[in-house]
């Protein structure tokens, strides 16, 4: 998922505004967590080799961050990986282990500081 264009929660809000938009402390307009980036948690990053990828989606299903970006065709029949969203990827490495060894389209590399 690309970083959201609209950022509604950057400014801390006062109680009067919250009483209107967040009565009982609810969060409206969910999900809002894409406004919070977790990419800086990484110490290692997965590198994707598009040429080797068979788009089996195993990395996508086991990614806890929903950071495997997909392109879904309009008729829904073609689902392809298009990359890794480093805004959110925490670098856990699950995708690398999920990628079938014979395909080996994902590899961990040190995070560039």
């Amino acid at each position: 998922m690309p970083a959201p264009k609209e950022r509604k929660w950057d400014e801390l809000k006062g109680w009067k505004e919250l009483a209107e938009i967040s009565p009982g402390a609810i969060v409206p307009g969910v999900p809002t967590s894409p406004e919070y980036l977790t990419g800086d948690w990484r110490v290692e990053r997965p590198i994707w080799d598009e040429d080797k990828c068979t788009h089996c989606l195993l990395c996508w299903v086991f990614c806890p961050e929903d950071a495997i970006m997909l392109n879904i065709s309009e008729d829904g029949k073609v689902v392809k990986m298009i990359g890794i969203d480093y805004d959110y990827c925490k670098g856990c490495g699950i995708c690398v282990r999920a990628c079938p060894p014979k395909i080996h389209a994902l590899e961990m590399a040190p995070e560039e500081v």
């Binding site: 801390l12 809000k13 006062g14 109680w15 009067k16 919250l18 009483a19 967040s22 009565p23 009982g24 402390a25 609810i26 969060v27 409206p28 969910v30």
Partner: protein, 397 residues
């Protein structure tokens, strides 16, 4: 204000509250039986079984789950009611705070009973006083008629303020005491209450929301501040709900308090609940037979605390006896006394206040208790200073 049709019935407090609940026909009732509130749950189950209501009744396995299910149902936009007492209310304690902070207008009939230990099933106010800071509006009633009407107006109040409401009766005294009362027609009650308009709704799947998130140092205080403001605003909603009730049914209820012969009073007693009836008789006797300038104030709504209204009626009183049917175990007496002292200290004109604790664990409350209270206040008026801020009435030394 045209008076609506009423029917005279003889009912106990529990029967009257259950009858009001039947007329209200809430969407969800989740409840667990406990003495002395059990009959409310039993009678309501029978209304469900007989098809007199189309409520979804959730016979939960504990009061904790009762309040938890009420929270879930109320967050789903339903009109929700329950009932409990004593240990049951204490077991709900954790969730009471959540119901109010989530701004859920749950209406709960509470039959006042003391808290263990020692275990005792009879009346005092230690249970609801223990919940006084949970963010619920609290209505204490004096008789069965008022308990019935307050249950109906309680729902209206809750839904206007978007805060939960407790309506209480004194255990056994009212809950099991039969009185004749006038009840409205089912249709009128349902028309009066209309539809609930929730602040939010977790069943609105097309507009998803997150209810009950984690709030940290950056947001908790602002959300809490909003809830606190809702309690300030609740005063207006309480007045409005009672005015609308009076206009619709043609029946007036006292709102925050019921002053009794307080004009020109030098001595006054503050008391909650059913004991006020006995207190009023003593006031009549002292005024009419002995010529004392004595009055009484029955406090009906304890949360939000009506400090301005109290000052208006008590500001000119010289000696004020505050009678609590609960002790705060803080060596200063009862919670009502503490709060009235705080409220009146805000104003320059204020009486000398002494706390009296009476009637714990269902101890009978005879007129002698009130005479003793007034005698003690006369002793203070004579220039004596009590060793302690509190006097215990009706207990063997």
């Amino acid at each position: 204000m045209a008076k609506r049709k009423t029917t005279r019935m003889a009912l106990t407090g529990n029967e009257a509250m259950a009858f009001a609940m039947k007329q209200i026909n809430p969407d969800v009732v989740a409840a667990y039986p406990i003495t002395p509130a059990t009959q409310i749950v039993e009678l309501f189950s029978k209304y469900v079984a007989d098809g007199e209501v189309d409520t979804e009744f959730v016979p939960v396995e504990s009061e904790h789950s009762a309040m938890s299910a009420c929270v879930g149902a109320s967050a789903a936009g339903a009109r929700v009611m329950t009932g409990t007492a004593s240990q049951g209310l204490a077991l709900m304690h954790e969730i009471l705070y959540i119901a109010s902070a989530l701004r859920l207008p749950i209406t709960m009939c509470v039959v006042n009973r003391t808290l263990s230990a020692p275990i005792n099933i009879h009346c005092d106010h230690s249970d609801t006083m223990g919940s006084r800071d949970a963010g619920w509006i609290q209505i204490y009633t004096e008789n069965v008629q008022e308990a019935y009407a307050s249950t109906i107006v309680g729902v209206r109040t809750a839904e206007k303020a978007n805060l939960p409401v407790m309506v209480t009766t004194d255990g056994f005294v009212l809950s099991h005491g039969m009185e004749s009362l006038d009840v409205f027609d089912d249709e009128d009650v349902r028309e009066f209450l209309g539809q609930r308009k929730p602040l939010y709704n977790v069943l609105d799947v097309d507009n998803p929301i997150t209810v009950g998130p984690l709030d940290l140092q950056d947001y908790f205080f602002e959300h809490k501040r909003g809830q606190i403001e809702a309690m300030f605003e609740a005063k207006k909603h309480i007045y409005d709900a009672h005015r609308e009730f009076a206009e619709f049914f043609g029946v007036e209820l006292p709102v925050f308090m019921e002053p009794y012969r307080l004009d020109d009073a030098e001595y006054a007693i503050v008391v909650l609940g059913s004991s006020a009836g006995t207190g009023k008789e003593v006031v009549d006797d002292l005024r009419d037979e002995k010529g004392m300038k004595v009055g009484l104030l029955r406090l009906r709504i304890f949360r939000p605390f009506p400090y301005e209204e109290l000052q208006q009626v008590l500001g000119k009183v010289k000696y004020l006896a505050v009678m609590d049917r609960a002790d705060s175990l803080n060596t200063m007496g009862g919670p009502v006394a503490t709060e009235i002292a705080r409220a009146l200290y805000h104003f320059s004109e204020r009486p000398i206040i002494h706390s009296f604790v009476y009637g714990l664990g269902g101890r009978d409350v005879p007129p002698e208790n009130f005479y003793e209270v007034i005698e003690k206040m006369q002793w203070i008026a004579a220039g004596n200073t009590p060793d302690r801020m509190v006097t215990y009435v009706g207990v063997r030394e």
